[in-house]
């Protein structure tokens, strides 16, 4: 049942999302063509316009991903989706896979697109060919292995986004929030956001695990893990025993994992036992 539910959700959004992905590809192609004219003023203007429409398309897909999930869970298509005799675990996991697919694909699209725009912009400004700048960037990416870090960050952000949205939609649609309508999920989202920010900040500052930041990034991202809290570093800075903060607390990563698990269990239980459609 998981694969059927997953395919249904992905196909449903694909009927709309494909046009926005085409728009994103179109913006890149347009930018490439305009760059070929090598007229700086026009190139810069159209590149700015292309970047704007490119990002707008990506953001719109993101918004539609949330809207379609809301429609399936609480909106006009919910009387079909929630009548399917599927285990709650299948519904939950298919929703997660659906969010992850669109979020991951869209963010990846945006990152690659922006990289192309950046190369184009520099190529025009420096008056050199696209290939030269591309090779410089490629060299930097391969030397520093930044792509790995970027990949991890995208996955991390995708999961964070997915859990937050599912949590807001599911909990915000419980009977107690019903009179608020769409305001229920919005309220739950902001409450959860504030709580998560506080938890992240506290765990970042006080949990004694951090990475020592490298002096320069040119030789690559070689981090050293230290078992100190960021707060102690800040205290040293405040008492003038240090000039700057050289460590970055990563305790929040573990706490975030735990909060994701708690939130997913919460979503599961609410969706199973507290569903209340409009």
């Amino acid at each position: 049942m998981f694969s059927k539910l997953y395919k249904y959700q992905v196909k449903e959004l694909w009927s709309v999302a494909r046009y926005f992905y085409l728009g994103m590809i179109g913006a890149i192609i347009l930018s490439l063509l305009i760059t070929a004219t090598r007229i700086p003023g026009i190139v810069l203007f159209f590149n700015a316009l292309s970047i704007l429409s490119f990002i707008l398309c990506g953001v719109t897909v993101g918004i539609f991903t949330i809207v379609y999930d809301y429609q399936n869970q609480q909106g006009k298509r919910s009387y079909f989706f929630r009548s399917i005799p599927a285990r709650e675990s299948a519904i939950l996991s298919s929703r997660m896979a659906y969010y992850f697919t669109y979020y991951f694909v869209t963010v990846l699209f945006i990152v690659i697109g922006l990289a192309i725009f950046l190369i184009l912009d520099n190529a025009v400004k420096m008056g050199v060919s696209f290939q030269i700048i591309f090779n410089i960037v490629k060299g930097f990416v391969l030397r520093t292995k930044i792509i790995g870090l970027l990949f991890i960050l995208i996955i991390y952000a995708a999961i964070q986004h997915m859990v937050s949205m599912m949590f807001a939609i599911t909990i915000g649609s419980e009977a107690k929030f019903k009179r608020l309508g769409i305001g229920g999920p919005v309220l739950v989202y902001f409450l959860h956001y504030i709580v998560m920010q506080i938890i992240t900040l506290i765990s970042m500052l006080f949990i004694p695990i951090a990475i020592r930041l490298p002096e320069n990034f040119d030789s690559g991202f070689k981090f050293q893990i230290v078992f100190e809290s960021m707060m102690s570093e800040i205290s040293r800075l405040l008492s003038n025993k240090s000039h700057d903060i050289k460590i970055f607390g990563i305790g929040f990563i573990f706490i975030t994992f735990i909060t994701w698990i708690i939130m997913l269990i919460w979503i599961y239980k609410s969706s199973k036992n507290k569903i209340s459609l409009n």
Partner: protein, 230 residues
């Protein structure tokens, strides 16, 4: 054993009590008319029975189990709102239903499509409201379910279409199933229902077989409805 058992059911929306201590048992093999004025709790009751609303107090048993995964396998529900993706064609909707519901009868669905004079390749967004309603009735009734819950299946549909929808409901209904039809268009469904529940402010005002009630009050069910809710 009754296929539906409800004991002391209460449902509130804030301070508003939609269902007030309702208890009833319903057996298979009948079509039940659920009637009452707007806000009497008809849709709320059907939503609870369809496992779409778990926020209630009291006991509800569908075939001996609480509404949930198992009840969804035997309950076919028709909402009063459009709930199918508008970009789908009629044939795609039939395929979708047969993918998700093991009791879905494709042959029955295509026969009803023909009865309704609808084209398989037509998209929902290209259909009129009445045609869309027919599609939803078709999808609901094409399941070989044990319980059919139909919320306002004929409201907003022209009289000629109403007759076709009602005909399809009877044709799609199997003798050992239970069908609950909520409506305020009692005149149209009076001839197809076996028993009736008059709901008012979340409580049952009158219940019984249509024949018994006609004999007891010396009126048609529609006249009785008008007298009670005037």
């Amino acid at each position: 054993m009754s296929i539906i058992q409800i004991n002391n059911l209460c449902k509130n929306y804030g301070k508003l009590q939609a269902i007030n201590n309702l208890s009833i048992e319903l057996n298979s093999g009948q079509i039940v008319g659920l009637v009452g004025p707007n806000g009497s709790g008809k849709s709320s009751l059907l939503r609870i029975l369809g496992a779409f609303d778990m926020a209630y107090s009291g006991e509800v048993l569908i075939n001996g189990l609480k509404p949930g995964l198992e009840s969804r396998k035997i309950v076919s529900y028709l909402s009063d709102k459009p709930y199918i993706s508008e970009s789908l064609r009629a044939e795609q909707m039939i395929k979708l239903y047969s993918d998700f519901f093991s009791d879905f009868n494709q042959e029955k669905a295509f026969n009803m499509l023909e009865l309704f004079k609808l084209k398989p390749e037509q998209k929902l967004k290209e259909m009129s409201k009445g045609m869309g309603d027919k599609i939803q009735v078709l999808l609901t009734m094409s399941r070989d379910a044990k319980i059919y819950l139909l919320d306002e299946p004929i409201s907003g549909v022209d009289p000629a279409s109403r007759k076709i929808i009602l005909r399809s409901m009877i044709e799609g209904f199997s003798e050992d199933a239970l069908m609950i039809v909520s409506t305020h268009l009692l005149n149209d469904i009076e001839n197809i229902i076996d028993s009736v529940l008059f709901l008012d402010s979340g409580q049952i005002k009158i219940k019984g077989s249509t024949d018994d009630l006609r004999e007891q009050y010396g009126k048609s069910i529609n006249e009785l409805f008008e007298q009670i809710f005037q």
